[in-house]
């Protein structure tokens, strides 16, 4: 899969090892001789350190290693990416400055739900477009709402298109003025609750943004087209816990609705499967306790396997990669190499 695609998107709920999986897939790309870049979102500190990306950057950094290809990594800077977009679509420098200085704008990158997802996709598009890489792997934010990710571009453009404010900033024609009067009353009520300066900020923002929404919408459409292209692969990452599997199943359904197939299911943090029998006893002896210990692991392994069996069947023919509980957290290239080996192993091996 890593060999044949140009974009890989790792998705799933929080705490299932998505970032590590994304980094390991990019490493696998580099091992196959490709120029690979991983875009991470909020990686654990030691992993980030080992990749040399301890701070937010908007440009990838190269990681040296003995692989034939190239491995690059970056940690997404949501606000920086958004700032770049504003600069790109603003008609003048003044317009860009007016937007960047607005308080509502400054809140968008941290508070508007879906913005981080959109900027991850935007960065993905930009890196893909630059032709510097053969493979771009992107980690996605651990959103509870799986829809955010696919809907993010549309949500933001809807936000920018907000009718109430469009009407406020272009009260040129008579009928619009009439609508505007009702809108003003409505906004007065809103001001009463949150304060007038907030509403003023909002109006100033939409005024400053005037004329840029087309550029944003076109870009959002282009990003969406790229996401649904055949050269893009979605990797669904989960742990065997029922709640994580539920989220993954929900997400797979949403991808399916959007006409997107999952290319690979990764199940992280599996307990090992030991052979042997389920013999027990004698109670109160060392043998009894050793047998109970084996039985503990046989039980949990069977339990875990059963948890995701239905999801795996639903995603067929997508293969399943099983990654066991590792002795320690992955925080260096050796650890990532080990994960990559598990990821590419044939199912069941």
């Amino acid at each position: 899969m890593v060999a044949g695609r140009t974009i890989v998107i790792a998705c799933g709920t929080g705490g299932v090892g998505k970032t590590t999986t994304a980094a390991a897939l990019a490493l696998e790309g580099a091992r196959l001789g490709r120029r690979a870049c991983v875009v991470t979102i909020d990686p654990a500190k030691r992993l980030a350190d080992s990749l040399g990306i301890e701070s937010l950057t908007n440009t990838p950094k190269r990681i040296d290693g003995t692989w034939p290809g190239e491995l690059w990594a970056m940690m997404l800077d949501t606000k920086g990416t958004f700032d770049d977009l504003v600069h790109r679509y603003a008609a003048t420098r003044e317009q860009a400055e007016a937007i960047l200085g607005n308080r509502l704008y400054r809140n968008i990158s941290s508070a508007l739900s879906g913005t981080q997802e959109y900027m991850a996709m935007e960065k993905l598009y930009e890196l893909h477009d630059s032709a510097r890489f053969d493979l771009v792997v992107v980690d996605t934010p651990p959103t509870r709402n799986a829809l955010d990710f696919l809907d993010a571009p549309r949500r933001l453009t809807n936000f920018l298109d907000n009718r109430v404010f469009r009407l406020l900033v272009m009260p040129t024609r008579a009928y619009l003025r009439a609508v505007s009067a009702a809108t003003h009353t409505f906004l007065r009520t809103v001001s009463r609750v949150v304060g007038a300066e907030v509403v003023d900020d909002v109006i100033t923002f939409f005024e400053a943004f005037e004329g840029m929404e087309t550029g944003f919408r076109d870009r959002a459409d282009a990003v969406r087209t790229l996401l649904t292209a055949r050269s893009t692969a979605f990797v669904l990452v989960t742990s065997p816990r029922p709640d994580a599997v539920d989220e993954a199943t929900f997400f797979a359904g949403k991808l399916g609705d959007a006409g997107i197939a999952v290319a690979l299911l990764v199940v992280n943090r599996l307990h090992p499967r030991f052979g042997g029998t389920s013999a027990s006893g004698p109670d109160g002896t060392v043998l009894g306790s050793l047998r109970r210990n084996l039985d503990d692991f046989r039980r949990v392994a069977a339990d875990e396997e059963a948890n995701f069996a239905e999801l795996a069947a639903k995603l067929a023919p997508a293969p399943v990669s099983r990654v066991p509980f590792l002795a320690d957290d992955v925080h260096d290239i050796d650890g990532l190499t080990m994960v990559a080996d598990h990821l590419v192993a044939r199912p069941g091996s």
């Binding site: 907000n162 409505f186 609750v193 030991f274 042997g276």
Partner: protein
């Protein structure tokens, strides 16, 4: 400390931790423990999706209206465990209704203005939710309110939202709401946070960071840290299975010895790793720890819930009175 004293040391327990550490399970355990101690608990879930109902052996999802997850007098003397969700959208509609603005609430949602306002005033959704928690607390809706908080990173912004809003909004009803939430969160007799983590490297790092951020930036009282998923120790892990069999006058089936040996080695290694992480947590964070065992299943139903509740009660019994 007995569980009743623990559960009456504050009125709201906010349970926080990163995704996958068992935050929802611990919330359920705390509520069940309060119920068994003869106190009326209310579980509040904030994301509109959770496995809480299944843990109490019930079907379906929670909603805005309270439901009883565990009836009174099961076992005799226990109080009912009630639960409900509290999402920002619900809280907004209720807030507008309460403030005589029922008519605009629909329009706010329909026009997408809710998103605009929520972005213009970051944290407003969190304030509405916490404001509702405050209302439940003030109305004495329960002896103990257990809040299953959003996942770790967001828990800080969630609890910090009130202070942030006081800086951003200078007048109006939202400001007084924020002030009341700050009052609720900074009074240890009203609210405490229970952090949940796993005995693993990244979760330990994150819980330490979250703990300091909550103390410094929110000024909220932290209760004990729950360390979830500890393997119970097993005797004789270092004994060779063949020797153990000989000691009881039996022999092992083909392949059994190797499987027993591998499983014992795995458990031994993980027990060491877990002990090391528990020690690291103790060094980094001067808070009492409550340990919960891994049950070798991923399905928490009523039986497992009661098993964990007994374990937590035993752990609390070892706490001194000083943590109150």
């Amino acid at each position: 400390m007995d569980p009743r004293a623990f559960c009456t040391s504050t009125r709201v327990l906010i349970v926080a931790g990163k995704g996958g550490v068992g935050k929802t399970t611990v919330s359920a355990v705390l509520a069940r423990m309060a119920g068994l101690a003869g106190l009326a608990p209310l579980l509040v879930e904030l994301e509109g999706r959770s496995g809480l109902t299944a843990m109490f052996g019930r079907d379906g999802a929670l909603g805005y209206d309270e439901v009883v997850l565990s009836p009174a007098d099961e076992p005799p003397g226990a109080c009912a465990v009630r639960a409900r969700t509290l999402t920002p959208d619900d809280a907004l509609v209720e807030y507008l209704d309460d403030h005589g603005m029922r008519r605009i609430s629909k329009r706010l949602t329909r026009t997408g203005l809710v998103d605009v306002v929520a972005t213009a005033v970051p944290g407003i959704k969190d304030i509405l939710v916490l404001g509702k928690v405050k209302q439940l607390e003030r109305d004495r809706a329960a002896d103990l309110i257990v809040v299953d908080a959003p996942a770790a990173g967001h828990a800080i912004t969630f609890l910090q939202s009130a202070r942030g809003l006081l800086d951003a909004v200078r007048v109006g009803p939202i400001r007084s709401q924020a002030q009341e939430v700050v009052d609720l969160l900074s009074d240890p007799a009203r609210t405490q946070v229970i952090l949940v983590t796993l005995p693993e490297e990244t979760p330990v790092n994150e819980v330490v960071e979250t703990a300091y951020a909550l103390e410094d930036r929110v000024g909220i009282k932290l209760g004990p840290v729950v360390v979830n998923g500890l393997y119970p120790p097993v005797a004789g892990l270092d004994v060779d299975p063949d020797d153990a069999a000989r000691d009881v006058g039996t022999t092992l089936a083909a392949g059994e010895g190797q499987a027993l040996r591998e499983a014992a080695a795995f458990r031994g290694r993980r027990l060491e790793l877990q002990a090391a992480q528990v020690g690291r947590l103790a060094d980094a964070l001067p808070l009492p720890q409550l340990h919960l065992p891994f049950l070798f299943t991923n399905h928490i139903g009523p039986i497992e819930l009661d098993q964990l509740t007994r374990a937590l009660t035993d752990e609390i019994a070892t706490l001194g009175e000083a943590v109150r």
